[in-house]
Each structure stands twice: as structure tokens, then as C-alpha cells.
């Protein structure tokens, strides 16, 4: 590649054309994550309703 000062002037006749890349995808705005929630009151209300049974589990024996 040539030193700048010796560059062909004709080649420098370029227009100002910025790249579309000017805006980078980093500026994308994502939606928030959703976290699953538990509450001690879920269990609490079950206690008060006298229902300690929850689905899909059978009573385990203490080993």
C-alpha cells in the first residue's frame, strides 16, 4: 500500500457514505425476563384450609 501523500488523487474522489453499520445491534432493547415465584403464604393458606396434600407426590417414608 502506498504512502498517503503519494496516493492517487482520483481515488480520493469519494462521497461521504457512512455504513449502515453505524447502528449496532447492541442497541436492541429486549423484553424483561420472567422469573417463577413462590410465596410462604401459598403454603400458609393451604395450612389454614387444612390441606397439606399437594399433587403428584406420594407420602415418603423417612429413612
Amino acid at each position: 500500500s502506498q504512502p498517503l501523500a503519494g496516493g492517487q488523487t482520483a481515488e480520493l474522489q469519494s462521497k461521504v457514505v457512512p455504513s449502515k453499520q453505524i447502528i449496532h445491534s447492541d442497541n436492541m432493547e429486549m423484553e424483561p425476563e420472567t422469573m417463577e415465584t413462590k410465596s410462604v403464604t401459598d403454603y400458609f393458606s393451604k395450612l389454614h384450609m387444612g390441606s397439606l396434600v399437594y399433587s403428584c407426590t406420594s407420602k415418603r417414608k423417612n429413612k
Binding site: L4, V16, S19, Y43, Y54
Partner: protein, 407 residues
């Protein structure tokens, strides 16, 4: 009684977190754990909420720890629904930490259990989480390289296509459930996935849906996000006027919401858009606004970008004094933040500008030599229109009338 006090502390923690004070909530939950309880389901709920509180506080290592405790506990007591929830939360946390493979395993577990339990709501939420993990995974690999959206290596494309598939599956369930808020979230992230895949028309369609739902809910933050994302998509569709309109709405909402950081981002986007429209006065106006806020927020990276952009815009207008001033500031800031490529870009800019101004280089020999070395290493032949990249941007070349005959 000990038992009651653990519960009381946990309940206060819940109340505080619901009120948005996670930091205080954490203290109460930690205290509840200290007191302890015989009841493993209560403990599981405390761990889960501690994990979420730390997640919202961006303390992900701690979030990981507590969600992991929760998962272990849920398995111990055979609480399948609890296990599904803990797996989902663990998956989200692993995603943020960049551990995508493990995140996928956890989110998949969340999905499998939800299906096993015929829990449609859980299934939809797991699908959304999976979409997010694959989106992050794709974006993460994509960011390692430098290419426009739509020009992607296969592994990136695969991950993003999977993300789109999961968002679509989520959408079909939440549409069936009539959950508009969940639809809004899925549309937003689906739009961003299409954007990265280079499907800009599809991205616009998704973000328009997102916008509609945001307005339904009066959710101005979501509305602002949609405008910003629509602006980005229209840039790549080459419809700069439309992009400018959306960015203007973004800016308007950012000001209403009093969010200086997003206001700065909107100004920056507008500056870039007006540069693309070759309206340099307007571009300078917005880049200056961005610069002021970046300085106010002590955002050195943003300040450097603003100076770089201003240097280019002033160069385009032929205002070389200002161009030199900002190119010099850009050089200083690049050095300050240790941005090597920014520093070299700034050097090249300055040497070009000094040449245009016909300054003597005798004092700048070493700088010029270094610039040449860099230029050659970048394969940036002058003859092809030298490309300087900074943040994936291309330096605007000097306009012909500003270029003197050097021979």
C-alpha cells in the same frame, strides 16, 4: 416462638420485595434463613425469593446459589411444581451468566415438568425462557465477530432460529390463554430475533404488535422500547426518514420517563440517522446532546463515541477546526479508557485532518509511521476508500472538494 418468627421475617421480606425494595427484602429473608425452620416448603419459598431478589439486584452469583438451594430442596421433598419453577429460575440466571448449555438443560426441565403436569401457563413461560436463552446464545457468538445483522455464521443462525421457534410456540399458547402481557413480551423478543436474522420486515411486524400491546396497557417503557426497535429495523430497511420518526418518539418518551441514559441513546441514534440522511447540522445537534448527557453520566465510552461522531460530522461539513478538536478529544478518551482501536482510529483521523489543513507533519513523524503500520495491517488501502472501524462503524471519507492535491 422460633417458627413464627421465621415466617414473620419471610412475610416481611415478601412484602418489601413486592413493594420494590429488594435490598431490604433480602435482609429479612436472610434473617429468616438465620432463624431457620423445620418446614422445607417454607424454606424453599424463602430460597426462591432470595434468588429472585438477588437476580433483580444483578447479583447473579448469589441468585445462582439460592436458586440452586431451592432446586435441591424441591427435589428432596418431591415437589414437582417447585422443581419446575426452581429449574426455570436457575436457567434464567445461568443465561445471564453466559452459561448457555446448562441454562438450556434447566429451562428444558422447566418445560418438561410443566408439560407433564399439564400446566399450560408454566409451559408457555418455559418456552419464553428457552427463547431468551437461545437468543442470548446467538447474540453472544454474533457479537464476537463483526457483521451486519443478517450476515451470520451457521451456529449463530441456528441458535436464533431456535429462539424464534420457541417464541412462536410461546405465542400460540399465550394467545390461546388470552395473556396479552405475555404476548407483548414474546413479540418484542421475536422482533429482535428477526432483526438479528436479517428479517427486517418480520421484525417490523413483530415490533408493531409489541407497540400495540404496550399502548393497550399504557406501558410507556415498553412503548419506548418498541419505537427504538422499530427505528433500528427501519435503518436496515434503508428507510431512514421512518427510522428518524421512531427515534424521535423514543426520545420524546425517554424525556417523559426522565431516563437520561435512554435519552442519550436516542440522541445518539438520531445523530447517526441524520448522518445517514446527510443532514449534518441535525446530526451534530443530536450528537452534542448525547455528549452532554454522556459527560453528565460519566459515561466515558459514550463520550468517546460522541466525539468520534462529531469529528466525522464536522469533517463532512468542512469545519476542520471543530473536527480536529473532537478527533483530539476522541484520542484522549480512547487512551483514558484503554480503547486501542479507538486510539488508532483517532490517530488516523487526526493525521488526515492535519493533512487537509496542510499542517507540517515534521512533528508528527512517529504518529504517522504508526498510523501507516496500522493502516496496512487493516488492509485499508487508500485506493479502496480506507475503512476505519470503531464499534462497527465506517469513517466518512473526506468529500472531494475538501481534498487538496497533494502531489
Amino acid at each position: 416462638r422460633m417458627e413464627a418468627s421465621c415466617l414473620e421475617l419471610a412475610l416481611e421480606g415478601e412484602r418489601l420485595c413486592k413493594a420494590g425494595d429488594c435490598r431490604a427484602g433480602v435482609s429479612f429473608f436472610e434473617a429468616a434463613v438465620q432463624v431457620g425452620t423445620e418446614d422445607l416448603r417454607t424454606l424453599s419459598a424463602i430460597y426462591s425469593q432470595l434468588g429472585n431478589a438477588y437476580f433483580y439486584l444483578h447479583e447473579y452469583a448469589k441468585a445462582l446459589e439460592y436458586h440452586h438451594h431451592d432446586l435441591t430442596l424441591a427435589r428432596t421433598i418431591g415437589d414437582l411444581l417447585g422443581e419446575a419453577k426452581a429449574s426455570g429460575n436457575l436457567g434464567n440466571t445461568l443465561k445471564v451468566l453466559g452459561n448457555f448449555e446448562e441454562a438450556i438443560v434447566c429451562c428444558q426441565r422447566h418445560l418438561d415438568i410443566s408439560r407433564e403436569l399439564n400446566d399450560k401457563v408454566g409451559e408457555a413461560r418455559a418456552l419464553y425462557n428457552l427463547g431468551n436463552v437461545y437468543h442470548s446464545k446467538g447474540k453472544n457468538v454474533a457479537n464476537a465477530g463483526t457483521h451486519d445483522p443478517g450476515e451470520l455464521p451457521d451456529d449463530v443462525k441456528n441458535a436464533l432460529q431456535k429462539a424464534a421457534k420457541y417464541y412462536e410456540e410461546n405465542l400460540s399458547i399465550v394467545t390461546e390463554l388470552g395473556d396479552r402481557a405475555a404476548q407483548g413480551r414474546a413479540f418484542g423478543n421475536l422482533g429482535n430475533t428477526h432483526y438479528l436474522l436479517g428479517n427486517f420486515r418480520s421484525a417490523v411486524l413483530a415490533h408493531e404488535q409489541r407497540l400495540l400491546i404496550a399502548k393497550e396497557f399504557g406501558d410507556r417503557s415498553a412503548e419506548r422500547r418498541a419505537y427504538s426497535n422499530l427505528g433500528n429495523a427501519y435503518i436496515f430497511l434503508g428507510e431512514f426518514e421512518t427510522a428518524a420518526e421512531y427515534y424521535r418518539r423514543t426520545l420524546q418518551l425517554a424525556r417523559q420517563l426522565k431516563d437520561r441514559a435512554v435519552e442519550a441513546q436516542a440522541c445518539y441514534s438520531l445523530g447517526n440517522t441524520y448522518t445517514l440522511l446527510q443532514d449534518y447540522e441535525k446530526a451534530i445537534d443530536y450528537h452534542l446532546k448525547h455528549l452532554v448527557i454522556a459527560q453528565e453520566l460519566h459515561d466515558k465510552i459514550g463520550e468517546g463515541r460522541a466525539c468520534w461522531s462529531l469529528g466525522n460530522a464536522y469533517t463532512a461539513l468542512g469545519n476542520h477546526d471543530q473536527a480536529i478538536h473532537f478527533a483530539g478529544r476522541h484520542l484522549e478518551i480512547s487512551r483514558e479508557v484503554g480503547d486501542r482501536s479507538g486510539e488508532l482510529t483517532a490517530r488516523l483521523n487526526l493525521s488526515d485532518l492535519q493533512m487537509v489543513l496542510g499542517l507540517s507533519y515534521s512533528t508528527n513523524n512517529s504518529m504517522m509511521a504508526e498510523s501507516h503500520a496500522v493502516e496496512n495491517s487493516l488492509n485499508g488501502g487508500r485506493a479502496r476508500g480506507r475503512r476505519y472501524s470503531m464499534e462497527n462503524m465506517e469513517l466518512m471519507k473526506l468529500t472531494p472538494e475538501k481534498v487538496p492535491n497533494w502531489n
